[in-house]
């Protein structure tokens, strides 16, 4: 096995007593002293600091922003060219069958496009972009860390260190000169809470993390709580809820495909799998990603088979993410079900250890989002 990579905050994680696990080739903190449950609840009550430096930060430069954006639109079915300056948007790379290669964040940073991609897909995404984007300079950033500060106290805590961030709205991006060098800040995250993601020069990352942790409002949060927070927020995890076997329409991510890229739009299609995805937008799909609320306390985890009836032989779906939701105080799952079983409130059964347990299709997010629009 190859040596695990370390983020610039590795030593700090150890000092803070983190339990480390391998994740996407990195040695990452899965939890600290508080444990997953309290870390989760603390993030929703105050603020949590996450090291997400394993994710890929990539700058795309063309003649101008629009040139880079238009080039990228050949890989991503999102209106990137129409994204306002200093604004961010969610998207995904699709393949020729309309499946999802990765999901990502895209930001218009004035003269360039900045994307953030999943750690596990980083190399494949870079190869994909380098192969397909002629005339675009692709710079995989290797000298910056990425921190996320999430929760209702995030604004006040970060504003005290980086004046100006409080004025940002949800999905704004901005650069700030700070005591920690030049920061690239976005007002977004992966928890359903208000908060920021902060790109910081790697040699200043630990100082920034320590300054944030000095606030009594801020606790370090590991990957365990990151997963339960995003699940309660109804957000997908690539490799689990999204894959090359799921299209954006099946994944209920059609909101991320703007009009400009749809049939009849200004830049209709022109992305891998467009025929499949545009046809699905027009005609519907056979299965769909839905939220699932088990009725008992037993979590229905990834791989749990779903049935329409207590004695039916054929499964009508499968859970792709499932855990206990600490804020909800109950188990939560998401998964794919046949389209005629996808309506909110549909009563289904999940098979857990050989027993069929009741579960209901439910709208997501499970916990109301707390964004600053």
């Amino acid at each position: 096995m190859a040596e695990l990579r370390r983020t610039p905050l590795h030593a700090l994680h150890l000092e803070l007593g983190a339990k480390m696990v391998p994740f996407a080739g990195y040695d990452m903190p899965v939890q600290y002293g508080l444990g997953v449950m309290k870390e989760h609840l603390h993030t929703r009550a105050a603020a949590g600091l996450f090291d997400v430096s394993h994710m890929g930060q990539v700058i795309l430069r063309g003649a101008d922003y629009k040139a880079a954006a238009l080039a990228m639109e050949a890989l991503v079915p999102v209106d990137i060219a129409g994204l306002g300056e200093n604004r961010q948007r969610y998207g995904f790379f699709t393949d020729a069958k309309g499946g999802i290669l990765d999901d990502l964040m895209l930001a218009n940073r004035g003269d360039h496009l900045l994307v953030v991609i999943n750690a596990g897909c980083k190399e494949a995404d870079l190869a994909h972009m380098r192969e397909s984007l002629a005339g675009v300079e692709i710079d995989a950033i290797s000298d910056r860390a990425l921190l996320a500060l999430q929760g209702p106290s995030a604004e006040a805590v970060l504003e005290a260190l980086v004046p100006g961030v409080a004025a940002m709205r949800f999905m704004d991006v901005a650069s700030f000169e700070s005591d920690f060098g030049e920061l690239w800040v976005s007002r977004s995250g992966y928890t359903g809470e208000d908060g920021y993601e902060i790109s910081v020069p790697e040699d200043r990352a630990e100082a920034l993390a320590r300054a944030l942790l000095a606030s009594p409002e801020v606790e370090p949060i590991g990957l365990g709580a990151r997963d339960s927070l995003r699940l309660e927020a109804g957000l997908c995890l690539y490799g689990h809820d999204l894959s090359t076997d799921t299209t954006p329409v099946e994944a209920a991510l059609t909101w991320a495909i703007q009009k400009a890229r749809r049939t009849g739009g200004a830049r209709e299609g022109g992305f891998p799998g467009a025929e499949v995805i545009l046809a699905q937008l027009a005609n519907g799909v056979l299965r769909k990603r839905v939220g699932l609320l088990p009725e008992g306390r037993a979590p229905m985890r990834e791989g749990t088979q779903l049935f329409a009836g207590e004695t039916d032989e054929a499964a009508i779906g499968e859970v792709t993410s499932g855990a206990f939701g600490p804020t909800l105080g109950a188990p939560v799952s998401m998964g794919y079900v046949d389209i005629d079983q996808a309506g909110d409130g549909t009563a289904l059964f999940g098979e857990v250890r050989g027993k069929r347990l009741p579960v209901r299709v439910a709208p997501m997010p499970f916990v109301a989002a707390n964004f600053k629009r």
Partner: protein
């Protein structure tokens, strides 16, 4: 008190054996969110999977340490599974078994041996 390599503790209470998991095991599991208890009256054989404990991380099986009958379960865990994290060796007990064969007890570890085992 005796201990198994599966990180259960066994406490003799009259003719019954009370079973729980050790503090060490509870710590390793993390926050416990669900305990699936066996039905009272179930006859079990040693090493049967009798209880499932779900933590925030994963599901783990608890094995019957002895042959016998489950005569009582800790119903409080149904509503408050975190009792195991809070007091693994006390209010977080899981079930009581009426053993039909006590001989495996001799093979289980005492506290000093268990502490060496987890060291």
């Amino acid at each position: 008190m005796k201990y198994t390599e599966e990180h259960e503790w066994l406490l003799e209470e009259g003719e019954l054996i009370v079973v729980g998991i050790t503090e060490h095991a509870a710590e390793q599991l993390g926050d416990i969110v669900f305990v699936e208890l066996p039905e009272v009256g179930t006859e079990v054989s040693k090493d049967d999977e009798v209880v499932v404990i779900e933590s925030v991380k994963a599901a783990s099986d608890i094995l019957a340490p002895l042959d016998g009958e489950i005569v009582e379960v800790n119903e409080a865990l149904t509503d408050n599974p975190a009792l195991i994290n809070e007091d693994a060796a006390g209010t977080g007990w899981i079930f009581k078994i009426k053993p039909s064969d006590l001989s495996p007890m001799d093979d289980y570890m005492d506290e000093a041996k268990y502490n060496d085992f987890i060291a």
